[in-house]
């Protein structure tokens, strides 16, 4: 088992509140990603679960046992650090065996576990080497191996891929997922990279300024963001935001601004009731628009960015900037005026004051 429960978890460093009243249930075997910009409290939360940071208030429970005052070594939790934290003066074998040795596990049992973990990770040939002689990817595996041999109830990952180059990062991401499927252990993974979060997490926990903004499966968070922060943080290129005014005309609702006028389907407009003439933030993702002469958005092409599979167009819409994704076959030239049609099911609107999602 490995069910983690965070109850009103709070951490302050003097005046600064790093984590504020976090409530979260992580189920046994689940892969949960804590996502947010740097300083959002995700790493502090992870470190509190690990026992490396004292808790100001609230509780952490693992399988209904309160961990607040339990020493890190007695929590049955293993962690993979951002810089791997391999002991430079020990061979790979000793690095992996260290935790077991400290727990007074029998020598042949240690040997069996280390070799088995090394087999899973494909690092059998590295066991005699020192960390300084390993590549970034190899160190990463050793750090994973050190966690695996302990057979913990919960794995914690603190941005483990951030020190790898882009290609290796993608490769390791896939391997980590396979490993998770193989071990089926509860994993809590911290990252600021939303692609990692989207591809790896069973659920994503988006944090900002120490507060959880939204918890949910990746696609749900992507498609139905709880607020403007989540909407802007997840997705690359990020969602477009344009200032707009709410208009009701002939029983229909429109979002209107310089260069666009978007009709909303009746079933999606309920959140805008009572806001006639009010200011909102209109949000649309680059892929939720398509070119069309009847389009409700009009703009001039400023920059054309072909990325192979698609083209990103940076448009000037009424003085504001808007990015749209179009098919790679489309031919455009700079300065050209185009019209875009917004998918009405994918249009968002946010409260300009609170950032809360209205549509």
């Amino acid at each position: 088992m490995g069910e983690v429960l965070l109850e009103d978890l709070t951490k302050d460093f003097g005046e600064v509140v790093a984590v504020k009243e976090v409530n979260l249930m992580i189920h046994d075997g689940e892969f949960v990603v804590l996502l947010g910009p740097s300083g959002c409290g995700k790493t502090t939360t992870l470190r509190m679960i690990a026992g490396l940071e004292e808790i100001t208030s609230g509780r952490i429970l693992l399988d209904e046992r309160v961990l607040n005052d339990v020493h890190p070594r007695d929590r049955d939790i293993a962690m993979v650090f951002q810089n791997y934290a391999l002991y430079p003066h020990m061979s790979v074998y000793k690095n992996m065996a260290f935790g077991l040795k400290m727990r007074k596990v029998a020598k042949d049992e240690i040997d069996r576990k280390v070799k088995s973990a090394a087999g899973i990770l494909g690092i059998e040939t590295l066991l005699g080497r020192y960390p300084g002689k390993l590549s970034g990817g190899q160190r990463q595996r050793v750090a994973l191996g050190r966690a695996i041999v302990r057979d913990p109830r919960v794995f914690l990952f603190d941005e483990p891929l951030s020190n790898l180059d882009a290609k290796l990062r993608v490769q390791t991401r896939v391997e980590l997922l396979k490993l998770h499927q193989h071990l089926a252990a509860t994993s809590i993974y911290v990252t600021h990279d939303q692609v990692e979060a989207m591809t790896m997490g069973d659920r994503i926990v988006v944090m900002h300024e120490g507060v959880i903004q939204q918890v949910g499966p990746p696609m749900e968070v992507y498609q139905n963001p709880a607020n403007q922060f989540v909407a802007g943080f997840i997705g690359s290129p990020s969602m477009n935001f344009l200032p707009a005014t709410v208009r009701f005309e002939a029983g229909r609702t429109f979002l209107e601004g310089a260069g666009f006028r978007i009709p909303l389907p009746a079933e999606r407009a309920s959140g805008l009731q009572g806001r006639e003439g009010g200011e909102v933030v209109f949000g649309i993702r680059p892929e939720d628009m398509r070119l069309g002469s009847e389009g409700e958005i009009e703009g001039a092409v400023e920059i054309i960015e072909p990325v192979g599979s698609d083209i990103f167009l940076d448009l000037n819409v009424g003085g504001a900037s808007l990015t749209a994704r179009v098919e790679s076959s489309v031919r455009m030239s700079q300065g050209e005026h185009v019209r875009l049609h917004a998918d009405p099911a994918r249009v968002h609107a946010f409260d300009p004051e609170t950032g809360e999602t209205l549509v």
Partner: protein, 277 residues
């Protein structure tokens, strides 16, 4: 002048300066060794005769009969070794605490320790002696060793070195089930070997040569250290420079050995540092 010629000239200049420096540094030692194998009169000959006509090896056994030098040697060894060990233990523990633990007024503590470096020995000599006397340690090994067993510079050196060890290593060890002392012993110490080597070397050499403090605190012959014995030779026979120099050569040997030994440890240590993340 072309760039290449300039570079070559610069290289030559550096070589000349280095060789000059080496000569300046080695000349007193050479003079010492040379004087130790001359007769008492030849020592004062001008111009200096660097290699005497007849080598006087007999100076060495003769000099050793002028005092209880076996005892002085032994005392110096005990004191220098114990002080070195004390420094290795206490400076490393203090350095670890100051580098890696968060506690109130940590920086102030560190600065206070550092500020003692600015006090010359002469200022602390009398108060230290009074304390040692009150503790009944005058004319004991304890009195010779204890006041020197921890040193502000050593604390500084170890703190700086330990600060470079990533916190995550300590945290990983903590999660791996290592006790706090285990972390110090198994993680911190092996990763600050170069600094430990430097500290051991400096502590041994400083205290092998230590004169003033033993002079104050050790008045009986059985507790005198080698430098005290050497100084006392001048009182016995102020003209016997050939024999004094013979003793000086003998006194230099242990320090030279320690240096050679730790120099190898330095190199190993530095190789290890290269393995850090």
């Amino acid at each position: 002048m072309s760039r290449k010629t300039m570079l070559r000239l610069g290289g030559a200049l550096i070589s000349v300066l280095t060789v000059g420096g080496v000569i300046v540094m080695l000349l007193p030692y050479f003079w010492m060794v040379s004087s130790s194998i001359k007769t008492g009169i030849e020592v004062f000959d001008l111009p200096i005769k660097w290699i005497p006509d007849e080598i006087q090896w007999v100076n060495y056994p003769n000099a050793l009969t002028k005092g209880a030098f076996g005892v002085y040697f032994y005392n110096s060894f005990v004191v220098a070794f114990a002080v070195m060990a004390g420094n290795l233990v206490f400076c490393t523990l203090a350095g670890y605490g100051l580098a890696k633990f968060r506690f109130p007024h940590r920086e102030l503590c560190f600065r206070l320790i550092l500020s003692t470096l600015m006090l010359p020995l002469e200022i602390v000599l009398v108060p230290t002696f009074l304390v040692v006397r009150e503790l009944g340690l005058v004319n004991t090994y304890g009195g010779l060793i204890a006041p020197l067993a921890v040193d502000a510079f050593g604390v500084f050196l170890m703190r700086q070195s330990i600060r470079d060890i990533p916190d995550s290593l300590i945290e990983a060890a903590r999660m791996d089930g290592c006790s706090e002392f285990g972390i110090f012993w198994r993680i911190i110490l092996p990763n600050c070997k170069p600094a430990l080597g430097a500290l051991a070397l400096l502590a041994f050499r400083d205290n092998w040569d230590q004169f003033l403090w033993p002079f104050i605190v050790a008045t009986t012959d059985d507790l005198k250290t080698f430098p005290l014995g050497l100084a006392q030779m001048e009182g016995i026979d102020s003209a016997a420079y050939h024999e004094i120099m013979a003793l000086a050569v003998l006194g230099m040997i242990p320090a030279a050995f320690i240096f050679l030994f730790f120099q190898r440890a330095f190199v190993r240590g530095i190789t290890l540092t290269g393995l850090k993340e």
